[in-house]
């Protein structure tokens, strides 16, 4: 181990980076905290004054807040469900040797490189559009009434779009996990008389559990703050059916120009994210320790 002296030197050498990172984190956080205790509305400049917890009181008692909270959880949960199950199945398929494997893998990974606004626009105008969309065309081909996705099932539509973007990520991580599975273990199970399903549940799934944990953790972090897809497609509507916490804060700050209230919402979101992270890590952190 390092001596006392080298340890002190190491700390000294690391300090610029650590201090920079710390400032990067703490300055916006403290500013948000500060704003959240002010009456700060862009429509009424010059009237900023300290109002204590009033902003929090308004934000937390807003009925839209609970809807947004529920929407956030539904969005995260639904997307996780689709991406994890779909990711496992896709990884299983892509792990098989077949002609054109490289190109197919590239195609599967491609959605991840499309930025959220663009993919949401593509889905909105080319796929889910009730008149011009591909889905509408398919429905009409079979003589069915086309679905107006964003009006009839707005949350499900958003979940579909977000899941489409995150499915490649899940697939990629799960595929690498699958490829690290020892082929001899599978052969041993084959000789032990395990069928394909038993092999999947007794060997493949336990082997992938750690990767699944990683996928859930990382995706949850990013999915709590989904924004672009909602802004581009439904604008949080109809009503507030697709408003999540992030979009609610955006509406507070840039549609109602209430910076103080939005800051309070931001702090609430940070606290909520931490609560979720705490439970997630408690719940599945055990998986990572093994």
């Amino acid at each position: 181990m390092a001596t006392l002296q080298t340890r002190a030197t190491a700390r000294f050498m690391m300090s610029p980076a650590v201090i920079l990172l710390f400032l990067w984190m703490i300055v916006p956080l403290v500013m948000t905290l500060y704003f959240s205790f002010l009456r700060y509305n862009l429509l009424m400049p010059g009237t900023e004054e300290f109002i204590g917890f009033l902003n929090y009181q308004y934000f937390l008692t807003d009925p839209a807040f609970f809807t947004a909270l529920k929407n956030t959880l539904v969005l995260v949960g639904g997307t996780l469900l689709i991406t994890v199950i779909g990711g496992v199945l896709l990884a299983l398929v892509l792990d098989q040797p077949f002609f054109g494997q490289g190109i197919v893998r590239l195609l599967v990974i491609a959605p991840f490189f499309v930025m959220p606004t663009v993919s949401a626009l593509v889905w909105k105008n080319m796929l889910m559009h009730p008149v011009n969309g591909l889905f509408a065309w398919i429905a009409r081909t079979f003589g069915l009434q086309p679905i107006d996705w964003f009006a009839e099932v707005p949350m499900f539509s958003i979940i579909l779009i977000v899941a489409w973007q995150w499915l490649p990520f899940a697939t990629l991580i799960l595929l690498t996990a699958l490829q690290s599975l020892d082929g001899e273990q599978i052969e041993a199970a084959e000789m032990d008389g395990a069928g394909a399903l038993s092999r999947f549940f007794y060997l493949v799934l336990p082997h992938m559990s750690r990767a699944i944990t990683v996928v859930i953790l990382i995706q949850t972090i990013f999915l709590l703050s989904v924004f672009a897809e909602i802004l581009v497609t439904t604008n949080g509507g109809p009503g507030i059916q697709t408003t999540n916490i992030t979009y609610l804060i955006y509406a507070q700050a840039l549609l109602q120009f209430d910076v103080g209230g939005a800051s309070a919402g931001g702090i609430v979101a940070v606290i909520l994210a931490n609560i979720v992270a705490f439970f997630l890590i408690r719940l599945i952190g055990k998986n990572l320790e093994r």
């Binding site: 001899e184 041993a188 000789m191 008389g193 395990a194």
Partner: protein, 332 residues
């Protein structure tokens, strides 16, 4: 019970033929060792018997039934893999119980069989552990335990000892031989180590480039190798293979003398040479001698024989123990 017959079995990957046609008879209860240099197709042959590789031609008959196209689990064989292939997230108990569970046996029967197997293999105290918490030798025993609970017609071992250190390898060799005497089940064992082959086998099958070079008991192969390859492969240290004038004197193209059949003397003998490296093993001494007109010769002599580097010595091959080979490498 557990007789296995290979009839004209062949294997090719695409256009490259790995195993040309092979015929082999393995009797019930026999301990058969496939031995050969790496890449000779011995593991492929074993995997074909197990059903993990498809046959390109021929038939595999187990107990009189054609099993060429049966699934691995239906053949009634058990395999111990080189990497042990234990299931890492199951306990030792879970690993050994797995084949029985897949077979759909009831819990009490499984419990009894697992405990019996653990008792035979000295694993009783480790049943709750995970494979990651075991030593190499213990993992090996778990793999064997998983193989024996099914009471298979035959065991297949794919270089099971190559991941163990030398001392443990010696122990496990004895344990596997012991197990064979206890269970009296057919065993097929693949190795590249001719010491393992010699010490454990009832019957050795020497393979080279997918062909069977010779089949026989260890001492058969040692005493009368059919060709140069077998002669050079079986026995340690390697047989001295001499070509040229000295071989021609015995009317052979290649002359083989084992190091232990070479007498060494400081005063008189047939061949004169200079001592090179000497390896003292305590019980034996291996002396590498540079003989004029013959080449490098290894001699095995007793541990008390002392020589120095560069010393002049005389060698005499025992005439009765000479092996003579013709131009095709076949024994004369």
């Amino acid at each position: 019970m557990g007789s296995i017959t290979l009839q004209k079995v062949s294997k090719s990957f695409g256009t490259t033929s790995v195993i040309p046609e092979i015929d082999l008879e393995i009797n019930d209860g026999e301990f058969v060792v496939f031995v050969g240099p790496s890449g000779c197709g011995k593991s492929t042959l074993l995997r074909m018997i197990a059903g993990l590789e498809d046959l390109s031609g021929g038939r595999i008959v187990i107990d009189g039934k054609d099993m060429s196209n049966e699934a691995p689990a239906k053949r009634g064989l058990s395999m111990v893999f080189q990497s042990y292939a234990l299931y890492p997230h199951m306990s030792v108990y879970g690993n050994i119980a797995f084949p029985l569970k897949m077979d759909g046996q009831d819990k009490t029967a499984i419990d009894k069989k697992v405990k019996d197997a653990a008792h035979i293999l000295n694993l009783t105290n480790y049943l709750d552990r995970r494979p990651g918490q075991l030593s190499g030798g213990q993992r090996q025993r778990v793999a064997i335990g998983r193989a024996i609970v099914r009471q298979p017609k035959a065991f297949l071992f794919d270089e099971p000892l190559s991941n163990l250190d030398a001392a443990l390898r010696g122990n496990m060799r004895l344990e596997i031989s012991d197990l064979h005497h206890q269970l009296k089940t057919t065993m097929i064992y693949v190795t590249h180590d001719q010491v393992e082959a010699m010490t454990m086998a009832d019957k050795i099958v020497v393979l080279n480039a997918g062909r069977i070079e010779q089949v026989g008991s260890p001492l058969d192969l040692y005493r009368s190798p059919r060709n140069v390859f077998v002669a050079g492969f079986i026995g340690s240290p390697r047989m001295n293979l001499i070509e040229g004038q000295e071989a021609a004197k015995q009317s052979a193209v290649t002359l083989g003398v084992r190091p232990e059949h070479m007498r060494i003397s400081k005063t008189e003998g047939t061949w004169k040479g200079i001592v090179g490296v000497t390896e003292h093993l305590g019980s034996d001494t291996f002396i590498h001698v540079q003989v004029d007109g013959v080449g490098k010769i290894t001699v095995r002599t007793d541990g008390d024989f002392s020589t120095e580097f560069g010393q002049q010595v005389y060698l005499t091959p025992e005439p009765a123990r000479l092996h003579r080979f013709d131009a095709d490498g076949q024994a004369i």
